[in-house]
Amino acid sequence: MKEIDELVLPEDVRYAQSHEWVKLEGGEALVGISDYAQSQLGDIVFVELPAAGEELTRESEFGTVESVKAVAELVSPVSGEVLSVNETLADEPEQVNKDPYGGGWMLRVKVSDAGEVDALMDAGQYLEVLKGLE
């Protein structure tokens, strides 16, 4: 598990209390889990994601991520329609560990309310939350 000062927390994404990140690109959002989350879970072995076309609502469960000894729910930081999911995670769930903000992306969502993204934390605020968890 990483120490807090080893965590990668990019400035160009927003963070949810439940450790998901969102990167807004026009009206679409990429969603994944933070470096903290993947570090806590350990080696990820399986990711269960919704199908394209499904409607998500903010703070509802959209899937699960599993390591050998643990399962965590994935909670949606935004509302909207799932446009696509990262199919490579089916064969290479380890991408979530290696590159949580890049190759480990999970969903592309058509955001219904951009205000929801603004309400999320920036990297600095998220770091404070993580320090509080120690």
């Binding site: 399986f46 390591s67 050998v68």
Partner: protein
């Protein structure tokens, strides 16, 4: 007492280390409102020799094999068990071992169960088998719950040809969840009548047993075709898997899940337990399976080894969202089954299945010629139903007194089959036993 090694010196020393006066003082945190008032009302202890005598006496009243022979199957089968099974499964490294959560210390169990899983998939014609469930009945209940999870439909259909006790257990498991169970009748030929199913039934699964409780071999291929059009799963259950040494197994006929009773594979009847719940499915449903799974892997030096895997489905991690609540299963029985199958080999498995079939057909035809009609024209394996001549019930009772279990009367579970009997013949019956039975039944 030979199981308790502490001497009074040991106890004294340990109490001093702990810092209490007496053994009773160790229970200071147990309040009076929880304590027993009187000692437990149990019989005085027996020494090893008295216990042996007592148990031998009980076992003689037990039930063993009636001297004339038992010709009843119905979910519990008399088969020869080679002495190697007892000798090897009786090795204490196997039977006194714990569940293999620490794989470095339990590779024996893990490899044996991996082999068991593989043998089961080959016998049933499917992709993935689990490490065992309790019995065929709970395996069927788990299969239906799995189908409900996979399809997200809350209704299942269950053939009346499924063992009556299995159907009862399914109702017990599905009862509190409010899932609906539709019962399918069997037709004149003794197989499931699927015509009761209309299109758009929205069923998660249909469960059909083959060979069924009436001994008849069902056409699973036809059932699979119909069900898959509707998006329903075919659950094929069984109580006598030796049949698949001769008859086409469920996986090769399109079944999505095959589950049933494995007691025939080297496990003594033992008044009905422990048994062996066998469960197998297709690769695409692997993560939805209940029960433990053993997987192949390597150690840090790249050597092949085995571990319990996909544990996130199970209760100790997933807790209330687990695919099943099962923890302890029937591992030693799965081991015994593997040893049995290893002894039989492919050649023996096929040969033994054929021998069971031939002997059952022999009895069927001899009795057929003596007033006992075949109830159904459908092919059977080692069990079949005969309609007895009128008044046979009295003879049946007399034969029981004389030490012959001449079939199971079916009226109790199938009122329309009053005066019909389910008979079973395995390799344990020589021709002279069969001839003798015919004489007794027709005299």
């Amino acid at each position: 007492m030979r199981y308790l090694p502490h001497t009074s010196e040991d106890i004294q020393y340990m109490l001093e280390t702990v810092g209490v006066e007496s053994l009773d003082a160790l229970f200071s945190t147990v309040p009076p409102d929880c304590r027993r008032e009187a000692p437990m009302d149990l019989p005085a202890p027996m020494d090893e020799w008295g216990l042996l005598a007592h148990m031998e006496a009980l076992s003689v009243e037990g039930g063993g094999s009636p001297p004339g022979g038992s010709f009843v199957g119905a979910g519990s089968y008399e088969h020869f068990i080679p002495s190697v099974v007892r000798a090897l499964a009786g090795r204490s490294e196997f039977y006194t071992a714990y569940t293999p959560y620490q794989p470095e210390m339990t590779q024996g169990t893990l490899q044996a169960i991996y082999e068991y899983q593989t043998l089961v998939t080959r016998i049933l014609g499917l992709d993935a088998a689990n490490a065992s469930l309790y019995d065929g009945a709970s395996a069927l209940a788990e299969a239906l719950l799995m189908a409900i999870r996979v399809t997200r439909r809350p209704r299942v259909a269950l053939s009346r040809g499924v063992h009556p006790h299995h159907r009862q257990v399914v109702r017990t498991y599905l009862g509190p969840t409010g899932y609906e169970i539709v019962e399918l009748p069997f037709g004149e030929d003794g197989t499931t009548d699927l015509s009761a199913l209309k299109g758009g039934d929205d069923l998660a699964a249909v469960a059909v047993q083959s060979p069924n409780f009436l001994g008849c071999v069902e056409d699973l291929q036809a059932a699979a075709g119909r069900l898959h059009e509707e998006g329903s799963l075919l659950v094929a259950s069984f109580t006598e898997p030796l049949a698949f040494g001769l008859f086409t197994p469920p996986g090769l006929q399109g079944a999505d899940i095959a589950c049933g009773e494995g007691q025939s594979f080297g496990i003594p009847q033992s008044y009905g337990g422990p048994l062996l719940g066998i469960f197998a499915t297709r690769d695409k449903y692997m993560r939805n399976m209940p029960g433990r799974l053993v997987g192949k892997t390597v150690d840090v030096e790249g050597r092949r080894g085995f571990v319990l895997t996909l544990a996130t489905r199970e209760q100790h991690i997933r807790r209330e969202k687990a695919t099943s609540n099962i923890c302890t299963n029937n591992s030693l029985c799965a081991l015994a089954a593997s040893i049995y199958l290893a002894s039989l080999g492919g050649k023996g498995f096929r040969g033994l299945a054929r021998l069971n079939y031939d002997k059952a057909e022999y009895l069927k035809s001899r009795l057929g010629g003596a007033g006992f009609e075949k109830a159904f024209k459908t092919p059977t394996f080692n069990e079949f139903v005969l309609k007895a001549p009128p008044g046979f019930d009295k003879s049946h009772a007399r034969l029981a007194d004389r030490g012959f279990s001449a079939g199971l009367p079916l009226g109790r579970w199938y009122p329309e089959l009053e005066n019909h009997y389910l008979l079973c013949v395995t390799e344990t019956k020589k021709r002279e036993h069969l001839d003798r039975l015919v004489e007794e039944m027709t005299s």
